[in-house]
């Protein structure tokens, strides 16, 4: 099946001369959760804004479910719901009025039952008559989501959805994203919180300085670029790593009580089993050992460091 969103050769240079995007190519698969990661100013929001029609691109083409975003903007835009990063709502409108306004704006006939369901799902029903200005930050964020969902989009953009949001709401949001995915909605989220992408995403894209530097299945990415570390608590402190173990490039902690072995899944470094045999042979005894996988965050930081 063709991808639901196809971005090809998209560049954007602002009037100030700043180039925010350079020849970006990206395809989003139907029904996936795609996490777009990148440092501040990498071009994430510009890319989303172009797809949603908020910013004109300098070159390239974008199609949404086969509809060109310019020639066939009505069909393209009506498929998309956008939750922007900033909390921007008409402060004097009531929750009910503003969500219904969004639905009307996208050309959908009034459907109070559906709007009620959206508000209930986001725990906003009690506040339906409250003015937006009286809501807390977390509620405003949920209101923005309700507005984006009001017209039943097939693609949902969440631009930094959990920035400044407390833990409980963050988990509610993840739950909501999973439910939407079950309904077949494609979700594209940008985030600083990489653990969020790690927990949610099917695929991950990394953007830096306006260029997509990597797009990969999340599990594959973690397998390929992930590293493992094994830490051994020693019975007796060592002054230095014994000579016989030099090929493992072990790190000894300052107090001499801990040895750390870092290896990745693809390297040609010898396996853990041979290390343990060699430790025994060298007379090093340990009380306990612990292994851990590197997180997506570490992978991400390493990727950006490798960039020229």
């Amino acid at each position: 099946m063709p991808s639901i969103l196809s971005i090809s050769g998209v560049s954007k240079t602002y009037a100030t001369g700043f180039t925010a995007l350079k020849q970006v190519n990206l395809d989003i698969e139907r029904g996936e959760i795609f996490a777009l990661l990148g440092p501040n100013g990498a071009g994430k929001t510009t890319l989303i804004s172009i797809v949603c029609g908020i910013v004109n691109r300098s070159s390239g083409t974008v199609t949404v479910d086969g509809h060109d975003i310019n020639k066939d903007y009505r069909a393209a835009r009506s498929l998309i719901g956008l939750v922007p990063q900033e909390l921007t709502i008409d402060a004097f409108e009531s929750v009910w009025a503003t969500v219904n306004y969004s639905r009307g704006l996208f050309g959908k006939p009034a459907n109070p039952a559906f709007v009620e369901k959206v508000l209930r799902d986001l725990s906003l029903w009690d506040k339906k008559d409250a003015k937006a200005i009286t809501l807390s930050g977390g509620m405003k964020r949920r209101l923005m989501i309700a507005k984006a969902l009001s017209h039943e989009p097939r693609i949902l953009f969440l631009d930094e959805p959990t920035a400044g949001v407390d833990v409980e709401l963050r988990q509610d949001m993840w739950e909501m994203v999973r439910r939407l995915r079950e309904d077949g909605v494609t979700i594209i989220l940008t985030t600083h919180y990489i653990e969020e992408a790690e927990a949610m995403a099917d695929r991950v894209g990394v953007i830096n300085r306006g260029e997509i530097i990597l797009v990969e299945d999340k599990a594959e990415l973690m397998r390929k670029l992930g590293r493992k570390q094994m830490t051994m608590e020693l019975r007796a402190p060592l002054a230095r790593v014994p000579d016989g173990l030099s090929r493992y490039a072990l790190e000894l902690s300052g107090d001499g009580n801990q040895l750390t072995y870092t290896y990745d899944n693809q390297s040609d470094r010898p396996g853990v089993a041979s290390l343990i045999r060699d430790l025994e042979a060298a007379g090093v005894q340990f009380r306990d050992l612990d292994t851990k996988n590197s997180s997506l965050e570490e992978i991400f930081v390493n990727l950006l460091r490798q960039e020229p």
């Binding site: 949603c52 029609g53 908020i54 910013v55 004109n56 956008l82 008409d90 402060a91 639905r103 009307g104």
Partner: protein
């Protein structure tokens, strides 16, 4: 045509007018009444008649135009500037709405409000002076045409403005002087030679003159010219709006 979107925007705009009913309706009524007290009674007692019309009645069309122009501009400019200012314009830009629909909704909302206001002022005026409308059809036509034209003009200002100061700049520095010098309170025939000619470069003169003609059948300039000038200004505003949308000027850049 996404009529639902047009209706959604229009309704929000009208709802805002009712939320701020004090500011949008009552304050113009009060200021009109004050004009009548100051100009109609205090000055009018010294100027008895202009073109055979009592001074109090003579200033009514000018007063309505004065409010119509300033309110159309401020309604429309604020309506589009405010979402730009708070950022909620993202939603409008990302919606399946054409430029034409955006203009119809915002300009329609602003024009409706100022037309209602014009009629309220007319009703208020009728409490002070005996009114007589010779050409009701043309009176309404001038009212609607002017409201639409200046709402479009306000829309342009709202898109152009980058700050609240700029939003106030054009109405304050250009529109208000032009209106006061446009013959609201006097006939341009009362001006000395050269000033009469200079006045003819003021587009507001044509609006007020045509509007006054629809009331009393008397005008400073011929009604055909008035209508023509109003349509020219409408055409200019439409052309600018079309250019704004074509280029994405200050909206999609």
């Amino acid at each position: 045509m996404n009529l639902r979107a047009v209706w959604a925007i229009y309704r929000v705009e009208m709802a805002r007018a009712f939320r701020t009913v004090l500011q949008s309706i009552i304050s113009p009524v009060i200021s009109t009444s004050l004009y009548f007290v100051v100009f109609g009674s205090a000055i009018g007692s010294r100027i008895t008649e202009i073109d055979g019309i009592s001074y109090g009645a003579f200033i009514v069309p000018g007063l309505i135009m004065l409010s119509l122009l300033t309110q159309s501009i401020s309604n429309a400019s604020f309506a589009i500037y405010f979402p730009k200012f708070v950022g909620s314009i993202y939603e409008l830009l990302s919606a399946p709405v054409s430029y034409l629909e955006i203009v119809i909704a915002y300009v329609g909302g602003a024009a409706t409000k100022s037309i209602i206001l014009g009629l309220i002022i007319l009703a208020t005026a009728s409490l002070f002076v005996p009114l007589h409308i010779e050409h009701p059809f043309w009176m309404l036509s001038f009212l609607v045409l002017t409201a639409v034209t200046f709402s479009l003009f306000g829309f342009i200002i709202g898109i152009w403005a980058k700050s609240f100061e700029q939003l106030q700049l054009v109405p304050l520095l250009i529109i208000t002087p032009l209106t006061f010098l446009g013959g609201s309170f006097y006939s341009i025939h009362m001006l000395p030679g050269i000033w009469k000619t200079i006045t003819l470069f003021n587009p507001v003169v044509y609006l007020i003159s045509g509007f006054r003609w629809s009331f009393y059948g008397k005008a400073d300039v011929s009604v055909g010219v008035s209508l023509g000038m109003t349509l020219v200004f409408l055409g200019v505003c439409i052309a600018i709006v079309a250019w704004i949308f074509k280029t994405g000027y200050r909206l999609r850049n």
